[in-house]
Amino acid sequence: MTTHRQIRGLLVCLLLTGFVGPTRAEVYLAHDPAWAGYWIWGPAKNTPAIEIDLSAWLRAHPGGWGKPLVRRILGNAVSVGLRNVYWDMTDAEGRLLYPAGDSANVRRWGNWGVDFGKTDMPAVAVETAKELHQNITLVASKTLHEEIRKRYPAVKIILPESVPQNALSGVEITRENLGALGKYQNPHAQYFRKTFDVTTPVQSAELCITAMQPYRVYLDGKLIGSDATWQDGETYDVTKRLVVGKHVLAVEVKGLKKPSWPAGLIVNLRWTDHQNNTRLVVTDPTWRRTESLNKNQPGWSQPEFDDNVWKSSVVVGVEGTGERFLRLGAPWGNPRPLLSSPTCDDMLITDVRVRAEKDPKHAKALMDRGIHDTHSRRWSCRGLPATIDMELPRDELVGGIRLYSGWLRYTYAPSGPGEVKRFRLLAMVAGTWTDVCKEQVTPPYRREYPLSTYYFETFFQPVKSNRFRLILLESHDAGKRFSNLGKEPLPAEERWCNLREIELLRTETP
């Protein structure tokens, strides 16, 4: 006893003096969750249950184990709306799949390193299901119920014959099957609202957001941003918009074109007040949601809108647990420009038709996917000049253009070789193509975080038209691939030019 006390005393002493273990600062771990909160969506209807026999799963898809595996399986399930989980406590051969008293009958494959007697997989599953808001039920024969109840007291246990007949086999919950399982989820566009209060003056505020489908996010009814890809979160500096008082974040997310892809939205709004307190608003089930927006109520994104009849959101993931959410990048460091000003609701015109003389195939892709940023190439052409025609649904008073080109994601990389260098913008006015601004020369992007630039914008005398023509005259490309390695630059007609996003800016209403 004395020895124990001495050791404990020594440990306390060492802890106090900081000599035990590495400090947090010395152990720097990558990929700490950059995103807080949940992925949310609307509830799916008539989804089947899933029954997971982990022993069978492992034999069909070997190599995983422990928490990473359970989080992957259940994360994949919830990402396509599967919420009712039946977890088998024995496998088809009657082996026990939990650390049971009768250890001789516990499933283990020693050479492989899989031992259900040492790792409590049902406990991991129960914990994960709770986090993902799934309903989990343990499945076992009657003789095992008493022991299982003692071990997992808060979890419902049923007999194998009570598992719903139409339950999917857990073996199907794999990366490859996610497309097919997508049919179970809610395919409709969703509208979300979150009301919150800012009680003290804000020093800085960042809104980070991404969704599995194209979204538009509004703060107090003003359009903040829009994007069509999920891999990178967008960051918006909303410091100036977040004054003391009541606010509403509202997000419109498009529905699934075809039900073969997980749906979801994640939002993190962080702000620091003048006392350096950090506040956070994140997506969770408290967000109000509807998928049947009344067209006669256009003010759904406004603070005064009554969302009492809207429903709660449902959790469809926690970042990292499911396949589609696994490699989500951290919110992009460089804030994007906001898409509205305090006096103008919506400066963005997105629904344009695009036609390019060269490489029309890619131009079509640009249109189909929306003209939004991504970490991958959206439209590119080899050979300049190239022309992109944009057709708006109606005449608009356009007074500016913003071009995103090159690599957006590398905050530290040198300028991308295919960035636009010179361009012209024309508008169809009275049946003729007319220059709306003089030829523009864009400098290479500056890549010096946090001062990086990644788009070029210019404003001009507003012109009213529904047809605009962008002529790309020259890119910053000088050769092939990463570098021309000292060789002579290629002629312009052989160079590449990339475009990731075009924003035509409507002039502000008087």
Partner: protein, 519 residues
């Protein structure tokens, strides 16, 4: 005549009865392969030195393969294809994939999937298991912090903390990576290399220069004023007036990386157990701003090289070239042996086989196959297997004494037949591939060997035979039987080798692993 017919019939029947005595284990009977049992198979003595790579990040993407089961699953399947050397990705981008103690290193972790390389020590598992299988395992370390799989997101903490050491591009932009011009950066990289070789029992170290961060991908780097001034002071020439691929200017910049390589060489030489140091680089660029192969070869920094050869751009960057004749000429310029790398993701099986054959005909004796996930999921392990091992084998146990009979469980990658090394030599049992069968051994007088005649199909991805059980001696006691290194294989120019362990899918598991198509 009729009696003779019936005698023959009964003999045949008894033979068949013996054959069907190989039966699957009874339902409900627990069985787990012993740790002592090995999967054995003869390997060709004149097979090329076959190597492959493990990036657990790639495997994790599939079914969250990680930890001990993940490491063992991957290694076992590699080993069963006859490959005897693996490179284990120890640093991905700038992130250590092991619990590193190097200051300012970043350890890979995805907290919400519980994939945490600080907690799950995968290299430890990998080294231990590879050695158990008799394989060599090298630490694979790209010092230029390549980021192809994790764009913009995999820099080490050191890089973020030392922006003052960031190189600049020819356009004057920060490259996002420190320069090896700075000793502190070289020491940081050296500390990682040292840790890999002292913390783990790796059999070698591969410095991969082919993988580079985007800003490093050219001679555009090295335009930090301090570096340019140093060059000017040494040579009297202004780099700004030179082409970026000027040989002297390239050599000068590469010399700083060379100092790092030299320090790694010294470190390895000072170890109690020096291990080979390999350099991987694209052979069409022996001199760049980041390496100077001929100079380093002359100084003897490396024990061997690996050529990362890519095909023409329209074939995809991961495609191997058909230019082995050209690469052998490059290899002959070096004083040390060269491994030729082939990429498995692009070409079909036949193309891959054809290309490797070309490489061997050109004179390469060492082949490294990249993208082991594609080797497995697309059944391309049949390619190394065809080079490493015969399709048929006669495998013999040591002499056993089983007057009281015995019982063994058998599993094989192909069809098998068991006879006893006895005068009548009758077939005791036979079985099909990838099952687990039980064979009752009849009581026999004297010592006898078990003789397995095995055959694997031409498109098989794995070879091997495993058996375990017991023989009953005259006192009724049981003596264990295991396939292990004490067994022998009949055949010219082959050596029986312990190439894997049973009880790791799919071997000996009575289960079909989903293993078809691109993943």
């Amino acid at each position: 005549m009729r009696l003779r017919f019936w005698i023959s019939f009964l003999m045949l029947f008894s033979l068949l009865a013996g054959v069907v005595s190989a039966e699957s284990p009874r339902d409900g009977e627990p069985f787990d392969w012993s740790e002592q049992t090995c999967v054995i198979w003869p390997l060709k003595n004149d097979a090329p030195d076959l190597q492959t790579v493990i990036s657990l990040g790639d495997w994790f993407r599939l079914h969250a393969m990680s930890g001990r089961p993940g490491v063992r699953f991957v290694l076992n399947n590699i080993a069963l294809s006859g490959i005897r050397t693996v490179w284990f990705r120890s640093v991905g981008g700038g992130w250590a994939t092991y619990p590193s103690d190097v200051r300012d290193v970043t350890i890979r972790r995805a907290a919400d999937t519980a994939m945490n390389c600080q907690v799950i020590d995968q290299p430890k598992e990998a080294v231990a298991f590879a050695h158990k299988l008799g394989m060599k395992i090298y630490a694979w370390f790209p010092p230029l912090e390549e980021a192809h799989a994790w764009p913009g997101n995999s820099r080490s903490r050191y890089v973020d903390l030392h922006r003052d050491q960031w190189d600049k591009t020819i356009e004057g932009y920060p490259s996002g990576m420190p320069s090896f011009f700075f000793k502190q950066y070289r020491d940081y990289k050296l500390a990682i290399a040292r840790e890999l070789l002292t913390k783990y029992d790796f059999d070698g170290l591969v410095l991969d220069f082919e993988r580079q961060g985007a800003p490093y991908r050219s001679d555009k780097c090295g335009y930090l004023p301090r570096i340019m001034d140093a060059f000017q002071a040494e040579t009297g020439k202004d780099p700004r007036a030179l082409r970026q691929d000027d040989p002297d200017w390239r050599r000068f910049r590469a010399s700083h990386v060379g100092k790092f390589v030299q320090s790694v060489r010294k470190m390895i030489d000072s170890l109690d157990r020096p291990v080979p140091l390999m350099m991987m680089y694209p052979p069409d660029d022996p001199l760049t701003a980041h390496w100077d192969v001929m100079e380093w070869d002359r100084k003897g920094y490396f024990d061997s090289y690996a050529f990362a050869t890519h095909g023409p751009s329209n074939e995809g960057w991961e495609s191997p070239t058909d230019q082995a004749d050209r690469w052998i000429l490059e290899a002959k310029k070096l004083r040390r042996p060269v491994t030729l790398i082939y990429y498995s993701a692009g070409p079909k099986i036949e193309n891959l086989r054809h290309r490797i054959r070309q490489g061997l005909q050109a004179g390469f004796t060492s082949i490294a196959l990249f993208e082991s996930t594609h080797l497995f999921w697309n059944r391309r392990f049949c390619v190394p297997l065809s080079l490493a091992a015969p399709y048929g084998a006669m495998i013999r146990s040591p002499e056993l004494d089983f007057p009281g009979g015995g019982r063994i469980v058998v599993s094989s990658a192909g069809k098998w037949r068991l006879t006893l090394d006895a005068p009548d030599g009758k077939i005791l049992a036979q079985g099909k591939p990838h099952r687990r069968d039980v064979v009752e051994l009849p009581p026999m007088k004297g010592k006898h060997a078990l003789v397995f005649t095995c055959e694997i199909s031409r498109n098989a991805s794995t070879a091997g035979l495993a058996a375990e059980g017991w023989a009953v001696d005259s006192q009724g006691g049981r003596r264990a039987i295991h396939t292990d290194a004490s067994w022998t294989a009949k055949g010219k120019n082959v050596t029986l080798t312990t190439i894997g362990q049973p009880g790791i899918p799919p071997f000996g598991m009575e289960t079909q692993v989903d293993q078809g198509g691109e993943k």
